[in-house]
């Protein structure tokens, strides 16, 4: 094992230890906020595996998350299927269903791909309301869906375990040559093809990985909330939050989406006393826009750079 890997593993260990001890120090309300941050991190990682790496921007992630959430919710709520079965089925449906839907889109170039994914999200929003509302609950959605566990602390541990498992697996996967190939597509797809790699295959693999995580996150999320409504899910603000989490933290990394999700969630909570409603997104969006314009690599890099600068200032003083 190389030295940098050891260092990273140590950092992961410290991070996990701190997060596991967190419930001892913070209030239940804060825990609930962080639970949301954990799910958001999952969604952001899912988005980033596809879009952050390959540069194929998906505006349709709520669509994937929606498949996962709705499938599991319907199976358990309408058909009394145990959660242990409904969640894996939901993940499977998302991966396969999502892939079938997106297969034609994956051959499209950049902006067209983005358009099609956007259209899918829209389509899903419309369909969920009109097709079989007896199953989906139509416009109102469903509530009273079985939850996995109760209480903030338990849910916190559950969501954290899920998030950290996904994060570490993705971290490991993205360190392989597969991860490099995906990043290479984002830099210059033609040269990747020119290196003898099938970019369609790579993009498909990235997409399926992304859909898998989205489905997993979506299914667990719905069994945490205990309810689901189309408007909250297929909402531009939700889409925005996912994408911005990944970007503001730092795209094409794993820590980036995690950090971004935490940052955005906490910011959103901090703004709540001042601006209770959707108006928060004005500040939220402006910050995102500024960070994105001036530090496209994201906040993590910004923080590290600043630390570096401070260190060099201190060392030059002494």
């Amino acid at each position: 094992m190389t030295n940098p890997t050891k260092k990273y593993l140590l950092l992961w260990a410290i991070f996990i230890a701190v997060m596991l001890l967190l419930p001892e120090f913070v209030s239940k309300g804060t825990l609930r906020t962080i639970i949301f941050a954990n799910f958001l991190a999952i969604f952001a990682i899912s988005w980033d595996v596809l879009s952050g790496r390959t540069g194929y921007i998906s505006f349709g992630h709520p669509f994937l998350i929606g498949i996962g959430a709705y499938t599991s919710a319907i199976l358990s709520y309408r058909f009394d299927m145990p959660i242990e079965l409904s969640i894996p089925l939901a993940v499977l449906t998302t991966t396969i269903g999502g892939t079938l839907f997106f297969l034609p889109a994956l051959r499209l170039k950049g902006s067209y791909f983005a358009l099609v994914t956007l259209a899918f999200m829209e389509l899903m929003y419309q369909l969920v309301q009109v097709i079989r509302p007896d199953l989906t609950g139509g416009t109102r959605g469903m509530s009273g869906i079985e939850t996995i566990t109760r209480g903030a602390v338990n849910n916190y541990y559950l969501s954290f375990a899920l998030m950290v498992t996904i994060a570490i697996s993705m971290w490991l996967l993205m360190r392989t040559r597969f991860g490099s190939a995906l990043s290479a597509i984002g830099m210059n797809e033609e040269s990747v093809r020119g290196s003898g790699l099938s970019t369609t295959k790579l993009k498909l693999a990235a997409f399926m990985t992304s859909a898998f995580i989205a489905g997993l996150g979506g299914a667990f999320y719905v069994h945490y909330l205990g309810s689901i409504a189309p408007r909250a899910l297929f909402d531009i603000n939700f889409l925005f939050t996912i994408i911005v989490s990944a970007l503001i933290g730092g795209a094409a990394t794993i820590i980036g989406p995690m950090f971004g999700a935490l940052f955005l969630t906490i910011l959103l909570e901090a703004l709540r006393p001042i601006l209770p409603g959707v108006e928060r997104y004005l500040i939220y969006g402006s910050i995102a826009l500024i960070v994105y314009m001036f530090k496209p690599q994201g906040l993590v890099v910004l923080v590290l750079d600043t630390l570096d600068k401070l260190r060099s200032i201190i060392s030059s003083r002494s």
Partner: protein, 255 residues
Amino acid sequence: MLQILIQGLLLSGLYALIAVGFTLIFSVGRVLNLAYGAYLVIGGYVYFYFAQSLGLPKPLVMAMAVVCGCLVGVLKYRLIVKPLKGNHVAVEISTLILAVVIQAGIVLLFKDSPKILHPIVSGVWRVGGATITFNILTAAVSSWLIFGGLYLFVRKTHTGRAMEAVSMDTKGAVISGIRPDRINLITWGYIWRLGCNCRGIFCELYPAFPGYVGCAVNHCGCGGYRGWYRFDLGYLAGGPYYWIHGNYFNLFDRR
């Protein structure tokens, strides 16, 4: 049925116009302007505020809407599109963020309840069982006029030809960023008309992402501000017609 058909037919011009605005940027600059829908919303609110709340004369307010739209478009271009130097991904994402910001800004200023816009031209005309408001009629006629004007602009003027050239050669795309934006702005200056269909009751139109797969606009404002980027199934009657136009009149995309 007849009602839907006629209404769809009349409105399709308007939708086509919106679609063209969107595709203009897309084909000339090769980027999706996801804030496009937000432009249209701004136009609607300018009309609502100045014409209805303050009671300024309608023609003046229309002009204001156009100017205001141009301003937003140029600002966006200067502050966001240009510094990002033609990086598609970055531009698209920042327009998404901008859309969210504008939307939140509007909610902050006007609250999120739908605003009722009065028809600009009142009166109705009955044909068979169908009722056609003069408002829609004016909207349709003027959209087609603008449409024609736009077509002539593209074909006959220097700027128009330049834009066309740019759309074929992406290298020059950035140069034209302002122009198509401006045309969008002109386009959305007209949404007040859109805002006046729907039995004159409500009418805020939140069209957005027009020009893609034929689904674009939410008239009748079913969703309040949230609906601004929604696609209205009720419009499907006029949809195919509009769709053909949206594609056929895609003046720039020559690839």
